[in-house]
Each structure stands twice: as structure tokens, then as C-alpha cells.
Symmetry: C2
């Protein structure tokens, strides 16, 4: 066969070491979110192409993997007006859209509010680059059906506390609110059509500073007056003259409730952090997706540059599938692949108490029934016992077994009643 044995471009195979770490991290995340009372749901990886195309998916829509129609539905005789005539399904590009569809279909018999966990793969035909994959795993929690600030407090606490269980500390949960950002833009006289572009620039405050922002906004041909107003505000913010409690005296058009709720969210979540991590207001946090409607958050760490998790409130999306009903919604997503890569760099092993033993044997031994029975009696939740056919090169065999996590071995000869294990070092 002259076909490549490499995985599809932008996707990866996971060997036993990788797969075990991924499984462990999934398990920690799932158990942690469950302990907060979130409930797992699962949806199929394919969605109807109409659902995907009608979504507010932004650039994700240009990265869809589309599935060819089958049988008589696929018509190839005449001219093809558009590629969409050829497809009926697509691979999901996130877990939020399937959640919206699921909720519309099932809300009648779900608890309200509905606290949900989703863990699964999503697909985007991204241009290949380091750290960007075309199949990647997402871990989302979402809280549907209520708009109380305790929702945000719980999402932040659950996600941050999950990260601490994976060995992360000293990170900050940055919190902002889309309504503040929009009021700021209006306050500076930015036209509606330019708001998104201005916010993309503002997002870079940490990296390029106020000077960098001014240059970028000039390139984007924002008016001098708007740039001046924004600069003056940002300088005041950087000098610590603008705090959340006083922001309304700097920017007009922010409702008092927005600030009081955001303050409650940040203060309560920070007090629950017990100094393991920080929760803080950060005006320069923007978050790319246009569908956010209220508080937004992101977990940042100086050590790692890019963010570990992020989310926010999106009150207008879920309801679209339900016609009349509006459904308040807020979510937090952990960057699973980013976290995996950091844990691999750290040589993270988890806190497994499992003993993994290998018993090397000759398959021609007449004592096999006794050996197999003995191995069965040793197996338990904490003790894996692998029977391994002895190879000629014992040293090489033990080395390979060690690599897949075997911690001790026994070289079986005759007496199954008294197996002696040696540590595999």
C-alpha cells in the first residue's frame, strides 16, 4: 500500500504516555466540575450544515469541515452552483452552538437554571502552525437560564479551582464587562462600525502600551479627537486613577447595576480564591467573540504568555433557537490543549497511586493457568498487572514497558504462588 501512515494534517496520534496524561487531565476536570454540581451532556460531532452556517461563528465559518452528501442526494451531473449544494453536515467548530441546539431541544425536562459540562473534540481547518491543531479538545461549563451575578462567581471559582487541581497557581482571573467597553467606545466618540476594531487594539494594551495603541488606531484612521479621549482615559487607568468603583465618573452611560454586580463578582470570587490565585478587574480584557453581552473573563499567567481559560456572558445566543424565549447564559472554557502542552513541559504525572506491574513469562510454560489466576487475584483498582510474553532482549523490553508506565516487574519461571516484584528503575 503506497499511502501515508501519518495522521491527517493538523491532527495527532496519541501514544500510551500522551493518552494516559490526556485521560488523567480530562478526569480531573470532569470530577472537579461535577463536584460543583455541573452535569455533563454530550452531542454528536456532526451538525446539520444549516445550523453551523447560520451561527455567529465569525471566522470559524471559513474553517468548516463539511461532509459530502451520500447516495441519491449527491447530484454531480449538472453544473454545481455552490459547494454547499454538495454537503449536508459539518463537524462542529465549538461546543456552544451544539449546546444551544441541545437546550432548545431538551429544555423542558432539564433543571432550570441548567449547569452543564461539555467535553469533546471540535474541528477547525486552521492554517497549520505550532500549537494550533485542526482537531482539538474543549472543556466547557455553561450556566443557562439565569442572570444573577452568583452565576459568574460560580463559573470563575469552579474553573480557577479546577486549574489549581492541575498544579496551576499564581494566575490571575482577569474580569471585564462588554458593556463597559462599549460605553468607553461611545464615550470616545467611536462610530458603531469602528467599535470592534478599536477593541481589538485595546486588547493589546499589556503588550504595546498606550503609545502602541495610539499608533495602531491612527493606522486604523480613527479620528484624532477619539484617539485623544481614549489616550487620556488609558493614561488615567494606568496611573491607577480609574478604579471599578469610580469608573462611572470617567465614562458616561454605564448603568450603576453593571458596576455593582461586577464588583460583587470580583470581590466574592477573589475572597474564595484564598490567595491561591487572584481575581481582578482588567479594563484591557476584550475577548474576541462578538456574542458576549456582559461580564467576560480570562485566566492569564505571566509564566505562560497565552491564556489558560476564558469565557463570559452571552445572553442572546441560546434563545435564538427557542424563537420567543430569551435565555441568559454564561460560560467558561478551559484551554485543554494549551494546558496539556504546559503539563507535558512540566513532566506532570498527576497523583496516581496506581501500581503497574509486569509479569514476564514464557508462553510455552505449563504453569499458565496458575500464573493467569494469580495475576487475576492481584488486580485491583490500585494495581494493574500486565502479563507480558518474554522477549529475547529483556533489557529493551523492560525499557519499553517502563516508558508506558510500568513501575515493577517479575520474571516468572515456575512458581506462581510466590511472585517477587522488582522496581523498574
Amino acid at each position: 500500500m503506497q499511502v501515508s501512515t501519518k495522521p491527517v494534517k493538523g491532527t495527532r496520534d496519541f501514544d500510551p504516555i500522551d493518552a494516559a496524561l490526556r485521560e488523567h487531565v480530562k478526569d480531573v476536570i470532569l470530577q472537579s466540575y461535577r463536584s460543583f454540581g455541573f452535569n455533563q451532556i454530550e452531542t454528536p460531532v456532526m451538525e446539520n450544515i444549516d445550523i453551523l452556517q447560520n451561527a455567529e461563528g465569525g471566522e470559524n465559518l471559513s474553517m468548516l469541515f463539511k461532509v459530502l452528501k451520500r447516495g441519491e442526494k449527491l447530484k454531480l451531473d449538472g453544473p454545481i452552483a455552490h459547494e454547499n449544494d454538495l454537503v449536508d453536515y459539518g463537524l462542529r467548530f465549538d461546543l456552544t452552538l451544539p449546546l444551544a441546539r441541545f437546550y432548545a431541544n431538551n429544555h423542558a425536562h432539564l433543571p432550570r437554571p441548567f449547569k452543564t459540562i461539555q467535553m469533546g473534540y471540535v474541528w477547525r481547518a486552521e492554517r497549520s502552525q505550532k500549537g494550533r491543531y485542526r482537531q482539538f479538545f474543549q472543556c466547557d461549563i455553561d450556566y443557562l437560564g439565569t442572570a444573577a451575578p452568583s452565576v459568574e462567581i460560580e463559573l470563575i471559582t469552579a474553573s480557577a479551582s479546577t486549574l489549581t487541581k492541575l498544579g496551576f497557581n499564581d494566575f490571575t482571573v482577569r474580569v471585564n464587562d462588554r458593556r463597559i467597553l462599549e460605553a468607553l467606545a461611545t464615550h470616545c466618540g467611536v462610530a458603531d462600525k469602528d467599535v470592534a476594531g478599536v477593541l481589538v487594539t485595546l486588547d493589546k494594551l499589556d503588550k504595546i502600551g498606550v503609545d502602541g495603541i495610539v499608533k495602531e488606531l491612527q493606522k486604523k484612521q480613527l479620528s484624532e479627537q477619539s484617539i485623544e479621549k481614549l489616550t487620556s482615559f488609558l493614561n488615567a487607568y494606568i496611573n491607577g486613577e480609574v478604579e471599578l468603583g469610580t469608573i462611572r465618573s470617567h465614562i458616561s452611560g454605564i448603568e450603576e447595576q453593571v458596576i455593582s454586580e461586577l464588583t460583587q463578582i470580583i470581590n466574592t470570587a477573589d475572597s474564595l480564591a484564598k490567595n491561591q490565585y487572584q481575581v481582578a478587574f482588567d479594563l484591557s480584557l476584550v475577548r474576541g467573540m462578538g456574542y458576549y453581552t456582559g461580564p467576560i473573563f480570562e485566566v492569564a499567567s505571566k509564566e505562560f504568555g497565552s491564556s489558560l481559560a476564558g469565557g463570559g456572558r452571552y445572553d442572546n445566543m441560546i434563545g435564538k433557537f427557542l424563537k420567543s424565549t430569551s435565555v441568559p447564559a454564561c460560560g467558561f472554557s478551559i484551554g485543554f490543549e494549551r494546558i496539556l502542552s504546559i503539563l507535558q513541559d512540566r513532566n506532570f504525572k498527576g497523583d496516581s497511586v496506581r501500581t503497574r506491574s509486569a509479569i514476564l513469562y514464557d508462553p510455552r510454560s505449563t504453569e499458565l493457568p496458575e500464573l493467569f489466576a494469580k495475576a487475576a487475584s492481584l488486580r485491583s483498582a490500585e494495581h494493574d498487572v500486565s502479563l507480558e510474553i518474554r522477549q529475547k532482549n529483556l533489557k529493551q523490553q523492560l525499557e519499553a514497558l517502563k516508558k508506558v508506565g510500568v513501575t515493577q516487574f517479575c520474571n516468572f519461571t515456575e512458581d506462581a504462588s510466590s511472585l517477587e516484584f522488582k522496581a523498574l528503575e
Copy 2:
């Protein structure tokens, strides 16, 4: 939006109750297989279309979900010679083909023999019918790189013992060997081209008896002489005159080693079963796939009709990706969706020791920080604590929470230091 909110045809959404059961069963299977020293690997859900099309996939090839090419690679201007010009990837239809590709790509740094677990979804565009899904979950173990009978013993023992951990008992692992079936066909003078068809009929012995088999073979226009020879053999088999130990005196052309190894497999595996289940020779076991080369097995149960698991030796497939090298291989696959459906019918809950508590609260309470801190202190591996915003209809809310597995609740009013939980009945 005027789009359907139903999942894609032939696929399913899983609500919290379904998803929790699926997760539990996956976990039991994974831990059980791990305890036998098998190692999990993972491959992407998409494979290159060439890999899928060149496979010995039989009718699965006609049920492929194919993925449309993207960008410049997709050419729709001219006439389209074949739909395969439009696609570059496809969704995997089983886990064995990806395993073969993975092994070819990674065997140099894997233990040999390689004992592997694969758990994941596969896709087939089957005609919809009850119990047949287009996206379904598979749990496979495979043992690559050696042909000793202890491989079969271990696969049978690991799979059967896993089923007992899910509450199955009183089942039989039926064992046969493709080489016996082929020798039987040759012995009866069946032409090579007719062997597959005869075996498909033989597979129904349990259901239609010898008379039914004769009728079906007559329809298939098998020669009278062949039918007569087969009938006479089957009658002897049913009357208990043909046992594995004496089968060579009835059918010529079976090597002695085939019988001695099959006997060793069945006797040892049955002794390890300790009467929790049976392992027995069954001449009428055929297994559909053409790629089997030696022992084959299937877990049957009178209670459930269809099989719970199956597998066999397939020594010629893995090596195809490795050009010169031949790689002995044997596998066992648990019918995850079949088992799930039985466990659901049985109202199976697993042996979870986890307590799931809900604390109902008013989001306007001034005691939120204390309540959240108290909840955090209660959470552990065994105790999930869900904070739930109190709804107007308390009875309805408790009913919905009970449905997602909450076992006790507390109606929080003021004092977080002394929460009292009541059982949710």
C-alpha cells in the same frame, strides 16, 4: 432561525442521565482493561480517504462519511469524474484501521508485543433502524506482535471479566477458528467463491437448525453433494459426536496445532472464568469480517439475543502498512451501545459512592461569600455540592435536580455554618 434543533439523522444527544451512565461504563471498561496492562492510545476521527478506501472494510466502505476538500483544492468548474475527486478525508468506520496506521507509524518505540486499548466514536451511514446508529462508540483491545495462544486467553479473560464488572453473568464466550471453518467448507467440496456464502448460512445454525440451513443452501444453489456432506457433519455435531478433540477425524486438512492451541485457549480461559461465565467451542460461530485468520470469539447471552462483544485473530492486516513485516494481531471489541441499552433497561446505576447535594439559595442573599466558602469546604472526591438558585416552584426544581442525580438538598436561608441536608426522595 428556521432550522431543526434535532441532532443529525441517526445520531443522538445525551442528557445528564445518559451522559453520566455512558461516562461510568467507559470508566469501568477503561480501568478494567488497564488493570490487565493494556495501554490506551488515541487517533484522530478523520483519516485520509486513501487509507479508508484501500481498507478491507467490506460494506463499511459504502457507508463512509467523506469530508469535502477546502479552498483551492476543491475544483467545481469542470465536470466531476467521481465524487472522490471532491474529498480528501473521511470519518473512521472502525478503530482497527486507525490502529494499523498508528502501529506502522509508531511501532519502533512501542513495547513488543503491544497491548492496546482504543475507545472512541466511529461513523457509518447505515440505514436508520432501531438500535443502529450512525455515530457509535467502540471499545477495543488489541494485542499486536505475537501469535501465542496466551494472547487469546488474555483477551477473552480481560473482556469477559470486564463484562462481569458491569453486572453481566451467565454468558458464554463462544470460540471457533476460521481455519476449521475453511477446512469444513473444503471438506464438503464447496468452491472457494462460495465459501463466504456458506459460512453466512452456517452462522444461523442456532436459529434455523439443520433443516433451515439445508433450505438456505439449496436456494444458494450449492451442489446436492456438498449439502449432503455438510448436513451429515452438522447432524453429528448436534448429536455431540463431534468434539474439538476429535474434529480432525471428521474433517481433513486441519493441522494438529490448530486444535491443540484452540483447546488450550478454551480450557484455560474457561478455568479462569470460575463459573461466572463459560468459555466453549462453538462450530457455528462464523463472525462476518473476512480478515480473520485464526481463532474467533463472541460473547453471547440467551437473555439478550444479540452479541455483547466479539473479536478474533487477524494476522494479515496490520502488516500491510509495514510493507515487508508481518504483524500477528488479535482483538476483542465490546459492543458499547448494545451494553448501554441493556444497562438502561436494567436501570443500572453503577456502584457510585458519591453524594450529590444541592444547596438552594436566594441570589440576593448577603451571605453569599460565606455560603460559597462553606460549599467549597464540603466538596471532595465523594461529595458533589451544587449551589442552585432557588426557583419559585420548589417542588418542580427538586424533581428536576433529582433526575440529574442529586441525592440530598438544603434550603439555605441565613446561616452557612450549619447547613442541614434532607434526603431527596
